[in-house]
């Protein structure tokens, strides 16, 4: 089975985000870039499916600027067989739907039996591309996946989705889009041989034209980014315990409206 994994390169989780001069984007200088952690679960699951079935191909794909190649290279080092980089300035302002359409065009060319994505990227937390991708393709889709089992002939996947207090299990006909939740697996660290082998694997550069896409204006655009307001300082309630507790309850009810 061919599995396509769509990933996104995002700032490292420890990044101190600063708003750039234009007020609409973040300052990218000095950022360490990583594969979005939920996408790593997706890559790992694809590799496990291939290993379990004893055959198949894992193709990593991303839409992003030139630096996004590093993220693809990390996926190749983990064990993906090849990668596709949708790398075109036409997509500089791509919103989730534009991204989903571009990925759908890649899927149509590649015709995988399964698409895996992370349940959201950890930068803008939109959590939309996987669902939109399925919609554009007309495929079924299941999000927040904690477990999956593909039947022997590759026709359906039993996917368990995280819900409050338990798992909701679906039989999903393939091809489908599954979005990985934390807990699906423990992603492997690339081995040294994996890293050295990665440089010999193909990363294909793809332009909008190669996908038969024009430069549609995005439906969504960012007008302004704002930093979070500073946290108000804490308050220490003095006095003996009985009075202090009364004041705490009053304050939680009347000032904070928390109870």
């Amino acid at each position: 089975m061919k599995i396509l994994v769509a990933i996104k390169q995002v700032p490292d989780t420890a990044t101190q985000v600063k708003i750039a001069g234009d007020g609409r984007s973040i300052e990218t200088a000095g950022i360490t870039w990583i594969v979005s952690p939920y996408d790593e679960f997706a890559v790992e699951e694809a590799l496990r499916i291939k290993e379990k079935r004893g055959q198949g191909e894992v193709v990593a794909v991303t839409l992003g600027p030139e630096r996004a190649k590093e993220a693809l290279r990390s996926c190749l080092a983990m064990g993906a067989d090849r990668a596709i980089h949708v790398n075109d300035p036409a997509f500089n302002d791509a919103d989730t739907l534009t991204t989903a359409r571009a990925l759908a065009a890649v899927v149509k060319q590649e015709q995988p039996g399964l698409v895996l994505v992370g349940r959201q990227a950890i930068d803008d937390d939109m959590g939309a591309v996987g669902g939109q991708l399925a919609e554009v393709l007309g495929w079924p889709c299941a999000y927040w996946i904690m477990e999956e089992t593909i039947d022997a002939d590759g026709q359906t996947v039993k996917a368990a989705r995280q819900v409050e207090g338990g798992l909701e299990v679906f039989d999903v006909p393939l091809p489908a889009v599954l979005a990985a939740q934390k807990g699906l697996n423990e992603p492997r660290y690339p081995t040294l041989k994996g890293i050295m082998g990665a440089k010999k694997k193909e990363i294909k550069d793809v332009k909008a034209g190669d996908l038969g896409l024009g430069a549609d204006a995005p439906q969504l655009s960012i007008t302004k980014l704002e930093a979070l307001p500073p946290r108000p300082p804490g308050r220490i309630i003095d006095g003996d315990i009985a009075t202090a507790v009364k004041e705490l309850v009053r304050s939680l009810r009347e000032d904070a409206k928390a109870i």
């Binding site: 590093e70 990390s74 040294l192 041989k193 890293i195 050295m196 440089k199």
Partner: protein, 387 residues
């Protein structure tokens, strides 16, 4: 001139950092307290193929150079593992070098494939109590008897000897000739036969997790097949191991300094005294900034020396200079980091205390700062030999 790392080198750095950081500072604190060998750490690196970094591909390794090994060991140390984590790994990097460069095909086939998997645990047997840095005066003697050598003698500062399965051993095979003092030494790579070798551990300042020892060799039989290169040429074969050893230990010192600096910087941002984070005081900030600058400078020399070695160019002056400057920079960084923590720096739970003890080693080993200065005085500046 190009200072950029290649894409695989960048990935090596990133992935080693990620793997090493899965072992917490508390893991290392506990290993140090209990004098417990970090097997979990070594096994994680064996599983990722990292121990085979410099072993050529036909023998199951990745055939990379000292540069990549340096990037790995630097990141291991910067992750906080310190010399407790670096020592068990670096024995897979420089002791095999003479075997790779000068070993017979039989020797390579018997031993090299067992290195990447971690099946072989190595010890390095060169230093002796009565010779020190004056290597030509070692007394351990290997006497030829038919198709084997019989070895008697004593070695000191054998790291890993409690765990070792194999040893790279330097012994005299001919009496010392004052006209050619470095001839007549032979290098062996051979199983660590505990029926003929007694190991006595030396208690020491730091790195309790990884043992250092004195060993007593009594009638150890080594098949002639286990000779590395040519009989009588062992010292010259060993030189291929010594410059990489200097470079790799140097970058370890840089990494340890970085780990300490990371802790101290974090602490200086968070610790509030007199209504301000202490890092706002220049008396705190400037020493930290200076430590950073010196670590960066030392790393440049480490990587230059590694590049020279990997490109087959002479690198004695650069390797020695890297070790000299990195040991100073690393020590200064750890000391400043401890000072930044004030009283808490002296407490084990803040971890800088362990790094401070560990870093002290690098001014002594693998060669003392003073012997490095002697080398530079004599071989670079052309001054008369002082000893």
């Amino acid at each position: 001139m190009d200072f950029a790392l290649t894409e695989p080198q960048e990935l090596i750095r990133k992935e080693v950092a990620a793997l090493a950081r899965t072992f917490s500072l508390d893991y290392w604190l506990e290993k140090d307290r209990r004098h417990d060998y970090p097997w979990e750490f070594v096994k994680a690196f064996a599983a990722g193929g990292w121990l085979g970094m410099i072993i050529p591909e036909p023998y199951g390794g990745s055939g990379l150079g000292v540069t990549e090994a340096a990037l790995m060991l630097g990141e291991i140390c910067a992750a906080g593992a310190g010399t407790s984590g670096a020592s068990p790994i670096h024995f897979y990097m420089f002791p095999p070098m003479p075997v790779i460069k000068h070993g017979s095909e039989s020797l390579k086939q018997r031993y090299l494939p067992k290195i990447p998997t971690g099946e072989i645990v190595m010890s390095f047997g060169v230093t002796e109590p009565n010779a020190g840095t004056d290597t030509s005066r070692i007394q351990t003697f290997a006497e030829r008897k038919g198709d084997r050598f019989v070895v008697n003698g004593r070695k000191v500062w054998n790291t890993n000897a409690r765990q070792a399965t194999h040893m790279l051993l330097l012994a005299r095979t001919a009496p010392r000739d004052p006209a050619k003092p470095f001839r007549g030494l032979t290098l062996f790579f051979t199983p660590f036969d505990r029926s003929k070798i007694t190991v006595r551990e030396i208690e020491k300042l730091g790195r309790a997790a990884v043992d250092s020892n004195e060993i007593f060799i009594d009638g150890l039989e080594i098949p002639a097949d286990d000779v590395v290169g040519d009989v009588g040429q062992g010292f010259y074969h060993l030189l291929d191991s010594l410059n990489p050893e200097r470079v790799l230990t140097a970058i370890e010192a840089v990494g340890i300094g970085r780990a300490a600096l990371e802790r101290a910087t974090q602490y200086a941002k968070e610790r509030v005294v007199f209504d301000r984070p202490i890092g706002q005081n220049q008396a705190i900030a400037h020493p930290l900034a200076m430590a950073w600058a010196k670590l960066e400078t030392a790393e440049l020399m480490c990587l230059k020396a590694a590049w020279l070695f990997d490109n087959g160019k002479p690198c004695g002056a650069e390797s020695n200079t890297a070790k000299l400057m990195a040991a100073e920079a690393g020590f200064e960084a750890c000391d400043v980091a401890l000072q930044t923590h004030g009283g808490y720096g002296y407490a084990k739970e803040f971890h800088v205390e362990r790094l401070w003890r560990e870093i002290r080693l690098y001014k002594i080993a693998p060669v003392s700062q003073q012997m490095v200065l002697n080398y530079l005085s004599e071989h670079v500046l052309g001054l008369p030999k002082s000893y």
